[in-house]
Amino acid sequence: MSLVSVQNLTRVFDVSKPWLNRVIERLPKRMLTAVSDVSFEIPARTTYALVGESGSGKSTIGKMVVGLLRPTEGHVEIEGVDLVTETDAAVIDRIRSDIQMIFQDPFASLNPRWRVRDIIVEPVAARGGDTGGLAEKLLTQVGLSPDDAGKYPHQFSGGQRQRICVARALASEPKLIVCDEPTSALDVSVQAQVLNLMSDLKDEHGLTYLFISHDLTVVRHMADTIGVLYLGRLVEEAAPGDLFTKPAHPYTAMLIEAAPRLDAFGREVEPPEGEIPDPTDPPSGCAFHPRCPLATEICSVERPRLEAFGSGRVACHHAGEIALKGAA
């Protein structure tokens, strides 16, 4: 059974101006659909990655999975339990301690007035658990010194802080860790250290990751399955090998071609056209059709459903017709 099951998840934000402005200026309410009808499953002990550009809804999904946001429609089940509708407090408590989160900015996500020991044991201490020696043990596991437990966050570099965040996430012995851009704020040599650490810990502790990133190269390295988001919709889902060699959705192909490559000096490619449209007023039919080289009439009318294609799933009326330009 899947550890995480996300079904028809939708989240709408009200981004209207304040009530009085609306009355005076006679403006309608404005709704922003950040996530629209997204479904996926994460089997235990695997890494599921969500990629997309800014505004694609990847962080919103992450927050709904951990329960920081309530879905407008649809639901998230973790170990078969929907935390929003579950009424048994004991069950909620048990499931919640199985979920942890690692955030992007290691400077903002550690309390500057707390010692590292207190930060790391907080998830256990909050539930009245035994914290003796726990911080020291976890610090060793993430490659820091046990003596660091008495220090404050400002005494560490960005990479070390992110290790502390990882240690804190491990403290309650979770099954699922949601990582929202865990290495975007780090330099590339430090990023490699943290990604390697996360891979090692996954094997040691049998963890499941929901890995959110905008960086295709990082995702390719970490994920077992990749979901590509565009304007809040899941447009393609596939294993990294398939996704990068033969993407079935034109947006995926565009992302792969646009990503700068190390071996591509002197490469002359036509950059993709256009930008992500306004999410409060998404295009009709397939949200990608105004930028899509394959778009035909049906694309502007009917929203494609996410359907099985090859070894993955894709939401496109012309699935599989795109070919990578200058693919290596």
Binding site: D187, V188, S189, A192, Q193, N196, S199, R220, P272, E275
Partner: protein
């Protein structure tokens, strides 16, 4: 050979503090020829932005150039007064910074900002300045440029704003463009657009450019030559194909290998142990030796050969040889 557009000669920047003098840029020398894009890479704290700011005279006091020279088209500009520098900045050196929103004045329309810059630096009439502004916006790919002149920065998307900033940097026809992380704040599809735009403009105008970034992929696609900086020093400089394909300095090698793209399909990324030293705790000798797999006794005392001489491009006593990399 023609005179280079920009020459740095042993440029050194010092920051005096109560606890001693910090040296964020240490003895950096390079040339950029007309039409050439020099990519400057390094991790945070390597001194890349500080070098760019030193060139345009925008160091925040107490940071100052303590030694060396900056030559623009053979003319020394590091000892210019503030008033003299104002005629260099914008007119002869264009600048593009990371965040397009903070580079633009939110209270002025982009047309006002462009024509103000043109009027300041070029001897033209107001109507001609407007015409040039429209032409500039057209060139960077802003659709219906004439109608957009009256728009304010907040009415543009991030990518379009960065195009406006580039138009602003280029409107006085500078000979040198300094772009400090111009695509870091942008999404990957927009980043590809901006990179293509910068490349095209440099080629068309024969403009020299110094592109500062931490993204190896961006450098590989854009630059003609690459300078790798580490802890304020120049670690390696050379043509992009050699730096990426056959790095000689162990730091360059580690940097390339630790990008996830380079090790696609491998279970583990190659990592460089440790972190860059802080400026107040610089090791003796080569700054990289505590993290270097090839370090020997000599590296702990002697900072490495000077780069920029004809036969050596890596500041390393024991550089990686070509046959070794193949083995």
């Amino acid at each position: 050979m023609d005179m280079p557009v920009l020459s740095l000669r042993n440029l050194t920047v010092d920051i005096p503090t109560r606890h001693g003098t910090l040296r964020p840029v240490d003895d950096v020398s390079w040339d950029i020829a007309a039409g050439e894009i020099l990519g400057v890479v390094g991790e945070s704290g390597a001194g890349k932005s500080m070098t760019g700011n030193a060139v345009i005279g925008l160091l925040d006091p107490p940071a100052h150039i303590s030694a060396g020279e900056v030559l623009l088209e053979g003319e020394r500009i590091d000892n210019y007064t503030l008033a003299q520098m104002r005629h260099v900045r914008g007119k002869r050196i264009g600048m593009v910074f990371q965040d397009p929103l903070t580079s633009l004045n939110p209270l002025l329309t982009i047309g006002e900002q462009l024509s103000e810059t043109i009027l300041r630096h070029l001897d033209v009439s107001k109507s001609e300045a407007d015409a040039r502004a429209i032409q500039g916006l057209d060139e960077v790919g802003i659709p219906s440029a004439r109608n957009r002149m009256g728009a304010y920065p907040h009415e543009f998307s991030g990518g379009m704003r960065q195009r406006v900033v580039i138009a602003l940097a280029l409107c006085a026809e500078p000979t040198l463009l300094i772009a400090d992380e111009p695509t870091t704040a942008l999404d990957v599809s927009v980043q590809a657009q901006i990179i293509a735009l910068l490349k095209r403009l440099c080629r068309e105008r024969g403009m020299a450019a110094m592109l500062v970034t931490h993204d190896m992929g961006v450098i590989a696609e854009t630059a003609d030559r690459v300078a790798v900086m580490y802890a304020g020093r120049l670690a390696e400089i050379g043509p992009v194909s050699q730096i990426v394909g056959q790095p000689r300095h162990p730091y360059t090698d580690g940097l390339m290998a630790s990008t996830p793209a380079a090790s696609a399909g491998q279970a583990r990324l190659r990592q460089i142990p440790g972190a860059m030293p802080r400026l107040n705790r610089m090791p003796d000798g080569c700054a990289f030796h505590p993290r270097c797999p090839r370090a020997q006794d000599k590296c702990r005392v002697d900072p490495g050969p000077k780069v920029g001489t004809a036969d050596e491009r890596a500041a390393c006593w024991f550089p990686i040889e070509q046959d070794e990399a193949a083995a």
